[in-house]
């Protein structure tokens, strides 16, 4: 009993009737799904606040950059690559323009033999390619770089992802800073993240330390929004809490689990 209850820890504190109702709603929502699995980040402060204890597989997630990142989406792309590096299998990455630098994906653990790039000239092409990839069984995840994401388009992606159980990530990236307000519009995505660059970890010598991010969960289905300061992905795609915040001495892999890999069923 103890084991089966532990992933849904927020529910255990609710009254029994509400608990039963929630369980009923969840079973309605996931009626066609064979598995309901999550990909944990390996950082307790994030996983503990996400429903199911990690990033839900078979769902659409949005990642955007903060400030200038809304235009170049560099941190968002690196964050996404770090997430997929910890998943298992091939990744389809749908691009609108060709400015993604593959060596940096390899640096966060997403090796070149795991990514297939599809260069679609416009946003409609990116969305159609993403959907095609999501319907194809056997991929670990599908990434698309889009600006505008309408309710209809996101719902199509969400349904396709639910069916195949793949991770769908939309990197929101706009051509003009004024368009970035579009991020406030509702979509069918189950989470919406924003990654902004922070000054890097100070080093005792001159130089740039490990990059840090300000990670905001702006929207989460069946969960609460939060924000957290993190050290960016390492060579295996793991995030880490900055040393002064972690409630233990800074180790090589503080915050990360054994290897962070593996699926947790909820």
């Amino acid at each position: 009993m103890e084991q089966s209850r532990s992933p849904a820890m927020s529910l255990t504190r609710s009254p029994a009737a509400l608990d039963a109702l929630r369980r009923q709603v969840r079973s309605l929502e996931t009626v066609d799904q064979a598995t309901r699995a999550v990909l944990p980040f390996g950082v307790a402060q994030i996983d503990g606040r996400l429903p199911g204890g990690g990033l839900q597989l078979g769902a659409l997630h949005e990642v955007a950059g903060g400030a200038d990142g809304a235009l170049h989406g560099a941190a968002a792309a690196r964050f996404t690559a770090g997430v997929l590096a910890r998943a298992d299998g091939q990744v389809l990455w749908c691009l609108r323009q060709r400015d993604l630098f593959a060596p940096s994906l390899a640096q966060v653990g997403l090796r070149p033999d795991r990514v297939i790039f599809a260069e679609a000239g416009d946003e409609a092409g990116v969305l159609a390619s993403m959907e095609e990839g999501l319907r194809w069984p056997g991929l670990a995840g599908v990434v698309g770089e889009v600006g505008k994401l309408s309710m209809t388009a996101s719902r199509r992606l969400q349904l396709a992802a639910e069916k195949s159980g793949q991770l769908a990530i939309a990197i929101r990236r706009w051509r003009r800073a004024a368009e970035a307000a579009d991020l406030g519009q509702p979509t069918a995505a189950s989470t919406r993240w924003r990654v902004s660059a922070l000054p890097s970890t100070p080093l005792p010598v001159p130089g740039v330390g490990r990059p840090r991010w300000f990670l905001e969960l702006l929207r989460c289905r069946a969960g609460d929004a939060f924000d957290i300061e993190l050290e960016a992905c390492d060579a295996k795609g793991h995030l880490r809490l900055p040393a002064p915040l972690a409630d233990r001495p800074a180790g090589p892999d503080a915050g990360a689990g054994q290897d962070g890999r593996g699926l947790v069923a909820a």
């Binding site: 400015d99 297939i116 260069e119 670990a140 740039v208 990059p211």
Partner: protein, 499 residues
């Protein structure tokens, strides 16, 4: 635009020296006469149709070869099949010395019409053929330009064909030799003169043939190209009693044809790598659709799905009266047993052929790829496109050196405040915003690759990773080493952005 290219290939073998006069001996009635000749023979004053006795008397040391029209036709047919594999599904033999290619929608694969023609000519030259190539709006126009324009590669802008062929001789119109001679007697030498004449009297004097050929050359009437097909090509054909036009009907018959084709492929133990579908329209035009597959396959369901996506681009006009489906590229394919395993184990090696096929047919074959490493220190050269389904060798990108997530294709010039020679800038302005540099790493010096271009011999770049007050990290470089003006302009550029 209906663009057609044709090649006029002089079938001279390359073995003898180029200055040796050579003629091919043909027959005109009972007389042995010059049928073809090389440039040296033409310069010696010989002409086509001259009696052989006369020619040998005029040019001592003339080399004679008997013409074998059947072997020539067979060789031309083989050449057409070769061109079909490379350039376009619709290739046919044109006359006894040329090929006609319907290049509509094919030229962009080679980077433009001119590049395609240059490529075609270079490949033919490698095979020992001296070719003249032209592309024009109509078959007749391209035919005339390839033979009489005196240019080896001729690209006519859309709508300019009539203007370009006006001054060419009548022989360019694909008319019989005696008709050209008769017209010459009446004072017609160029295509423009014939075109300027009223068609009624012209037809009374010379018959309908010149009028028809003029209309074809100027693109006023359609002229279908019946493509060549190798005997062993697996194909399926359906002719309709009544023309069809509705997309659903075409899709239904395509399904039947694909099923038929797959049965034939299976009988031959082949899998199709490329499928071409021709839709014969009632107005005597042929519309082609091409499907490329990443791996040989005879999965009918998938082929139908991909072909039906292509149907959008097929305009049935007033109706389609026949559909031909052929597998031009087919490779041996036998059944393979799937690995037995439980879900997770199979995921890593999941077969993505279908997905890659779908996407590359939709986006273009060069838009679906992997990015692999190459041996180069210059960041923009360290990445190359690799086919999506080929296995990659171990990658060699540096893991510990800073590499940005976004690399700009065109580095953007920035204004900097920096100490020379090797300090990172203290501040820079980029895209109108001034940023103060708080932390920096570098330089990472990259030298020019002199084995690629002479100009890169003394060049170098110094890359720095810099971080501004807000924590945004950038990759900037100085063109040059900061001291030697030979090494570069010493100006600063924004190369990319870190995540």
């Amino acid at each position: 635009m209906q663009a057609q290219a044709r090649t006029g290939a002089a079938s001279s073998r390359l073995e003898p020296a180029i200055e040796t006069p050579i003629v091919m001996v043909g027959r005109v009635g009972r007389r042995r006469a010059v049928a073809h000749m090389n440039l040296a023979a033409a310069q010696a004053g010989l002409r086509i149709g001259q009696a052989i006795a006369h020619a040998t008397a005029l040019v001592p040391g003339l080399v004679l070869h008997d013409l074998d029209p059947l072997a020539d036709q067979a060789a031309l047919h083989r050449l057409a099949l070769w061109a079909q594999k490379l350039y376009s599904p619709t290739v046919a033999v044109d006359g006894d010395d040329g090929l006609v290619i319907d290049a509509s929608g094919c030229a962009h694969l080679f980077g433009g019409e001119e590049k395609m023609l240059i490529d075609l000519r270079a490949r033919l030259a490698k095979a020992g053929f001296v070719a003249q190539v032209a592309i024009a709006d109509s078959w007749g126009g391209a035919h005339a330009l390839a033979r009489f324009s005196r240019r080896s590669v001729f690209v006519v802008a859309p709508g300019q064909t009539g203007l370009q062929i006006a001054d060419l001789p009548l022989a360019g119109l694909r008319l019989p030799a005696d008709l050209v001679e008769n017209a010459g007697k009446l004072g017609f030498d160029t295509i423009a003169e014939l075109e300027a004449t009223a068609k009624g009297p012209l037809a009374r004097r010379l018959g309908m043939e010149p009028v028809r050929r003029l209309d074809q050359a100027f693109g006023r009437v359609a002229e279908p190209i019946e493509p060549v097909m190798a005997a062993q090509t697996v194909r399926a054909r359906k002719v309709f009693a009544e023309p069809i036009g509705a997309p659903e009907t075409m899709a239904r018959y395509l399904t039947l044809l694909v099923d038929e084709l797959c049965v034939a492929l299976e009988a031959a133990s082949l899998g199709a790598k490329r499928l071409d579908a021709w839709f014969h329209r009632v107005d005597n035009q042929i519309v082609a659709a091409r499907l490329s597959l990443a791996k040989p396959s005879r999965d009918a369901k998938r082929m139908v799905k991909l072909l039906c996506e292509k149907l959008e681009a097929v305009d049935p006009g007033f109706g389609v009266e026949a559909i031909v489906l052929a597998a031009f590229l087919a490779e041996p394919l036998s059944y393979r047993q799937d690995e037995a395993g439980l879900g997770q184990a199979r995921k890593a090696s999941a077969d993505l052929t279908g997905l890659v096929d779908t996407l590359s047919n939709r986006l273009g074959a060069d838009h679906v790829y992997r990015l692999a490493s190459t041996q180069s220190d210059l960041p923009e050269r360290s990445v190359r496109k690799a086919p999506a389904l080929d296995p990659l060798e171990a990658h060699a990108w540096p893991i510990d050196w800073p590499r940005p997530t976004r690399l700009f294709r065109h580095p953007e010039p920035i204004d900097t405040v920096a100490l020379l020679p090797d300090a990172p800038p203290a501040a820079f302005s980029w895209r109108g915003a001034r940023r103060r540099v708080l932390r920096a790493d570098g330089p990472e010096r990259v030298f020019g690759e002199w084995w690629k271009a002479d100009g890169e011999l003394a060049r170098s770049r110094d890359y720095f990773q810099v971080e501004d007050e807000a924590g945004e990290r950038f990759w900037i470089y100085r063109d040059g080493d900061g001291e030697d003006p030979q090494s570069g302009s010493q100006r600063w550029f924004m190369a990319g952005v870190f995540g």
